[in-house]
Amino acid sequence: MTIEGLPLLLTGLAAVLATAVAVAVLWDRAGRITRAALVAACVLSLAATVALQLNRLTETYTSWAALAGERDPAVPPGPGPVAAPSGPGGRVVRLAVAGRASGMTMPAYVYLPPGYQRGHQRYPVIEALHGFPGSPKSWLRRLDVRRHLDQEIAAGRMAPALVVFPYQTPDPMVDTECTDLAGGPRAETFLTVDVPAAVRASYRVRTGRGAWGLIGYSAGGFCAADLLLRHPGQYAAAASLSGYASPGIRVGDGSERTTNNVGWRLRHLPQPPAGLYLGYTADDPHSRRDSSLMAGLATAPLAVTTGVVAHGGHSDAAWELMEPAAFDWLSSWLARPAEAP
């Protein structure tokens, strides 16, 4: 049974029901110790079932191995097999990223656009970052990203692109905010050195900064804006969906108040020639305030575009609505697919 499957959740609910019945039936005959055990079983089954459902909602632990702390069991570095085309749309494949620079060896998922298999072109690349808690599976399952990409590309509103969905932390309970934590995981190095290197080595992609972009929601929105400003030589544009101006964690070197703080960077450092999309919902006060702050601080040559959803809070529904607009916008800021030189 998979950790995220419906069967396990139903099993959990059955356990909640069974323990309630057991308490009711056995209580009168039970001694003190048995009664305590019955109550404990009730509480445990309820807590476990709630935890299972929360994990389903956030896609934090996507397998039993991940829960057990295994990183990426027995997957050789490099691209996973690409199945034969099953339909007109793009396909999602798995890429094992060797953490040569960061020491983080983690898998990533890669969306290959329609036509990738048959063509010879090199494609622009978008790195898509998830929220916290979360995982690349949040993009793939909860935000249905493949369907949205297929639709935008088929409609000609977006140029075919590779979209890469990396993990941002080796431990689902450690929030890196895509930074190099002092004495901890080096997520920034993983995302800006190891992931691009693995993508370039494994797929036909364009290499210049003009063809590379970032997108992320929630914590991933902070990541996208922060990495754009920190690595303008590598990325031409970034889209932050319900993102923040500061990481909200301690990086360990104080940089959450300075060089890993988008607000601080916009105030104190020269702004790069790049595009920044800020999508947010009007009823999500934190990201609305931070997005307005970033939009207000941005000056040429940094170009800001905003997109506001009226209701939706900090939720999948809002991000699904923002996705097509943000990908279309990103595509207009990135270099086209091109024949290899």
């Binding site: 309820l46 000609g156 800020l278 040559p301 997109g307 939706g312 529904a317 279309d328 270099a335 086209r336």
Partner: protein, 252 residues
Amino acid sequence: MTLIGVPLILVAGAATLTVIGLLGWSWNRGGRRRRLPTRVLGVLLGEALLVLTIGLVANRQELFYPSWQALAGRTSTTAGSVPVAAGRLDASLARHPDQPWQPAGSAAWHLAAPPAVTVPAAYPVRPVAFPVLLALGGRPAPADLVEVRLEPGPRTDALAGLPGLLAGDLRVTSHGWVIVAAAARVPLAGRLVAEFPGRFTALAVTGHAATPPGCPVPVHDFATWAAATRWAVAQSPPALEPARVLPPAEPS
């Protein structure tokens, strides 16, 4: 009652406590036949209300769903698309895809020859905005962009208002433009790029030239106009269908 308000949390909390209290009160009352279903229902209801109350508190704290509407996934917003306004020269360009372009104000540019535009074959049939290739002092290779050719003269030191004038006359994008220039025209190109930040994405040069000071786009050198054009075109986005757009933020 709002989803994130204290009243709802109080009601849920009170209901939880009431059910737990009633469960304790009724635990040993009645015969065994009545006791069992009451106990099972009471335990399950108490558990459900407890989880609900904790969920409401967490949601009030984190504002995942600030309203019943957000909880239901009703965003009250649709991503629309903005149709591209026709250019003043569209009809004429459908007949003559390669023609002189002399907008009012171009006299101030002091060009050595009248400017000219060439539109790609797709221009008359696809009602979308096209990125622009601006050629300064030479003839670029044919490309699928809107091509604008300018021959600067000795007194040409600025191309005031060029992007706006072009956007009125042709269907062109607001960014993703590229420049291909003769080396001698690089200072002029640099001023243009700096004057319109965000509009130009690449600057290709035939011959050798350094990136002018203040120009945010680096210069790339090429031996021929064909090579410079090929590279510059590859740096631009393709002509895309009108993007899905969300309402922009109100200016603060």
